[in-house]
Amino acid sequence: MILQRIRFLKDKFISKLMLVFTLASVSLVFVIGIGLYYRSIPVLNKLSWFDLLTKSDWKPMKGLFGFYPFIMGTLWVTAIAIIIALPLSILTSLYLVEYAHAKIKRILIPFVNLLSGIPPVIYGVWGVLFIVPLIQEHIAPHFIEFSTGYSVLAGGIVLAIMIFPLIVSIITEVLTTIPQELKDASLSIGATKWETIKKVIIRKATPGIIAATVLAISRAFGETIAVLMVCGNNAVVPHSVFDTGYPLPALIANNYGEMMSIPLYDSALMFAALLLFIIILLFNIISRVILARLERNLTK
């Protein structure tokens, strides 16, 4: 009887302990947001959200913190990455799911997974060694007179490769869930395989593709070291793909050393982190909700 009691007590105790662990780690979402906000209050008291986001003067010594160039830097790099990565990833996923032999698939998919395992800093080194010289010597000379190669384009290309695995894995998963009957119906009335893809599969997969894109954008937004190494880091709004850029995460990472010595500087950098956090949080929730809905429709 007592033994029984102990077992139940143990179960109850462990369940409470687990609940604490779960709540603690889930509340991390809020704690991070609140912590970052709390630390950005000093700079928010001095400058309004609107000023911080739209002004382009970045003079920490004078207390001027305009994030506009950094936001534009982030947007340029992210946009370039998505423009490169999305079509390539969609085509790759279509090939892997609809055309490739099971054997080829078994060989190729692990390489996509391996790509996702490579650490960001290695992408950065590769960008410096390969992409930057490539742009400097072979791409930029066709368009402008001189470029060091360190540019938003370099950042965009490196980021594009970093988000390949993410987009490909989500889209292939979405594509494999499309019922075979739909494809068969289209093929049986004489459509070619590509016409089936164009008119049936793509249409069916659109929500999944959107979710993958949103998720990829948020990944690209927050990527730090790789873009920091290849973008040139100049606090000026870029006007062409060969201009240097200074994305937000790179700003945070690059100025850690000096931020404690200048008043409000650390607060401004924490505001940058808060900004990233909010945007990425929203994008993640949007894409996860779309994906969850897709999954639910499927199991119905």
């Binding site: 139940f8 462990i14 780690s25 790759t92 790509l115 590769w126 490769i161 070291i225």
Partner: protein, 281 residues
């Protein structure tokens, strides 16, 4: 008719090209890292700490960074496991019936998984400032633990979900408490736990933005939790910018070491996942 055939062919070629670019970029990256790193690889690199300062000194290797990385990745993975195994069990065993609750928790971890490491780094830094911890091995471990918890929880959750519900029901119907049933499940998913460990270790050893503020940097091997520690990614990042060729070479060699380590870990994890899904009942 011919137009349709040409269109079909055109897009098929396009798809194959895209696939070649996507998978080929892996070989391009690894190839570049290997060809740059191998000339600088030698025994000193992995057995000695840098001589005369990491930024200018020409002598020595990156043992400090290798050890630092191992400490941080191991410490964070162990701490992460202690937190995430209970969470994964809780979601699946204790509130399994309450779909709304468990889905909300899963969403939270999906979101946490998407938060970039620089934000974890900044937040880890805030924690350290709050508790008065200086940039140290401990700080690095805290930041990386935060980073790997969502990876561990998501992987474990996925693995536990592959265990058939009958197993749990059978245990419960024999009079086992939920915790006793959970122990049965945990035994069943042992290879899955190992996969989670590998994934978390791989992420922890390679990430730089989270340790940039929190771990500091040192030429020496840390002997206590409160000493600053170097990590391989940090060593690559800092040494690459050096004007001295030998130091740059150390960065290339470190990149090679890190790439090899991470590739081995990823391949192992991949094989385990495959094996695991094969033995699924």
């Amino acid at each position: 008719m011919i137009k349709r055939k040409i269109e079909e062919l055109f897009f098929k070629v396009l798809m194959i090209l895209a696939t070649i670019i996507v998978t080929g970029s892996f070989f391009l990256i690894v190839g570049t890292i290997f060809s740059k790193g191998i000339p600088y690889m030698n025994l000193d690199m992995i057995t000695k700490i840098p001589g005369g300062g990491f930024y200018i000194g020409k002598e020595g290797g990156v043992l400090n960074a290798i050890i630092g990385s191992l400490y941080i990745a191991c410490g964070a993975t162990v701490l992460g496991l202690i937190i995430s195994i209970p969470v994964a069990i809780y979601i699946n065993m204790y509130i399994d019936g309450e779909k709304f609750k468990s889905n909300l928790i899963r969403l939270a971890f999906d979101v946490l998984f998407g938060i970039p490491s620089i934000v974890y780094g900044a937040f880890g830094f805030l924690i350290m400032v709050y508790f008065g911890i200086r940039a140290s091995l401990l700080g690095g471990i805290i930041a990386v633990t935060l980073l790997v918890i969502p990876i561990l929880v998501r992987t474990l959750d996925e693995v536990i979900r592959t265990v058939p519900g009958e197993l749990r029901d059978a245990a419960l119907s024999l009079g086992a408490t939920r915790w006793e049933a959970a122990k049965v499940i945990l035994r069943q998913i042992r290879p899955g736990i190992f996969t989670a460990i590998l994934l978390s270790f791989g992420r922890g050893i390679g990430d730089v933005a989270s340790v940039l503020f929190t771990a500091g940097f040192s030429d020496n091997i840390p002997t206590s939790l409160h000493e600053p520690a170097a990590t391989l990614p940090l060593a690559i990042f800092f040494q690459l910018g050096s004007p001295v060729e030998e130091v740059q070479g150390r960065a290339y060699a470190s990149a090679l070491i890190l790439t090899i380590v991470v590739l081995i870990i990823t391949v192992l994890a991949e094989l385990l996942i495959k094996k695991f899904s094969k033995h699924k009942i």
